[in-house]
């Protein structure tokens, strides 16, 4: 690696600290996703997990000095939305056609 691609020592220490913070948040979100207890808690945790992955990828791409890989973070932020919409759709309707009534609610 050429030195000019890599960030300076202080900068990389700061980026490292940030990524550790993001990782801690990711594990907390994972805890919530495993505990539940409702479907919605899990989806909330998943949404948060996706956002944190975007941050982690951005920070790591700065840390390795290849900031042209931010495309990946961009993709994550878009695809995360697709996944969220799919999950919402299936919690709400449990099907594809809008004609099917939503799952009957509890009495």
């Amino acid at each position: 690696m050429t030195p000019d691609l890599l960030p300076s020592d202080l900068t990389s220490a700061m980026l490292m600290a940030t990524s550790v913070g993001v990782l801690v948040t990711m594990s907390l979100a994972l805890v919530r996703a495993t505990l539940g207890p409702t479907v919605f808690d899990r989806v909330l945790a998943l949404n948060m997990f996706g956002t944190k992955t975007v941050l982690l990828i951005s920070v790591v791409s700065f840390l390795t000095g290849r900031s042209d890989f931010l495309d990946l973070a961009l993709l994550y932020s878009l695809i995360n939305f697709v996944g969220m919409v799919a999950l919402l759709r299936f919690t709400q309707y449990n099907s594809f056609s809008d004609n099917v009534p939503p799952r009957e609610e509890s009495p």
Binding site: M1, T2, L5, T64, G65, R66, D68, F69
Partner: protein, 176 residues
């Protein structure tokens, strides 16, 4: 078992752990969709196995950074430019035009020296092996297509047998 062994082999052990988790899901769960999920995990662990093999210490991704590509290109061009400059200098007395070209040639040559330095620096960059990336990249897309095929079969099974429970399906098969 030294610390060095662990530091060198932890990636394989991680891959094996994931692989065995996927294998366990396939073996121990009766639901067909869950089995497909298990196969997916197994598949991803194989991708990871290949990718970890391609990694080189202190390496970077096999995409040449734009700055270095530019430097390489201008190094090529400045070779030609410097040669042209030399020719022009040779016939310097002929015309102002020639002098202009010569100046230009000198500038290009200087630029070329800078570019050559950059190319030299570029030689120090270690790139990880691109071959595993290529193999796995295509495998992922083929993997999702075949997963879709498996899921389509699951849907058909559910329609014909009324269940996605593996043991129940076997019972129905034996009963008939």
């Amino acid at each position: 078992m030294t610390l060095e062994t662990i530091a060198g082999l932890y990636n394989y052990w991680m891959v094996i752990f994931l692989m065995m988790t996927g294998f366990y899901i396939v073996l121990a769960r009766k639901n067909l969709i869950k089995s497909v999920i298990g196969l997916n995990i197994f598949q991803t662990s194989v991708f990871l196995l290949y990718i970890t093999m391609g990694k080189v210490n202190n390496g970077t991704a096999p995409i040449i950074p734009p700055a270095i590509v530019e430097a390489q290109k201008s190094a090529h061009e400045s070779h030609a430019g410097a040669a042209a400059g030399g020719v022009a200098e040779h016939g310097a007395g002929v015309a102002e035009h020639g002098a202009g070209v010569a100046e230009h040639g000198a500038v290009v040559a200087e630029h070329g020296a800078g570019a050559a330095e950059a190319v030299h620096a570029a030689g120090d960059i270690v790139y990880s092996n691109p071959l595993p990336s290529v193999l796995m990249l295509t495998a992922i897309v083929v993997g999702i297509a075949t997963t879709a095929l498996a899921l389509a079969l699951v849907v058909r099974i559910r329609e014909d047998y009324g269940t996605v429970d593996e043991e129940r399906i076997l019972e129905l098969d034996r009963g008939e």
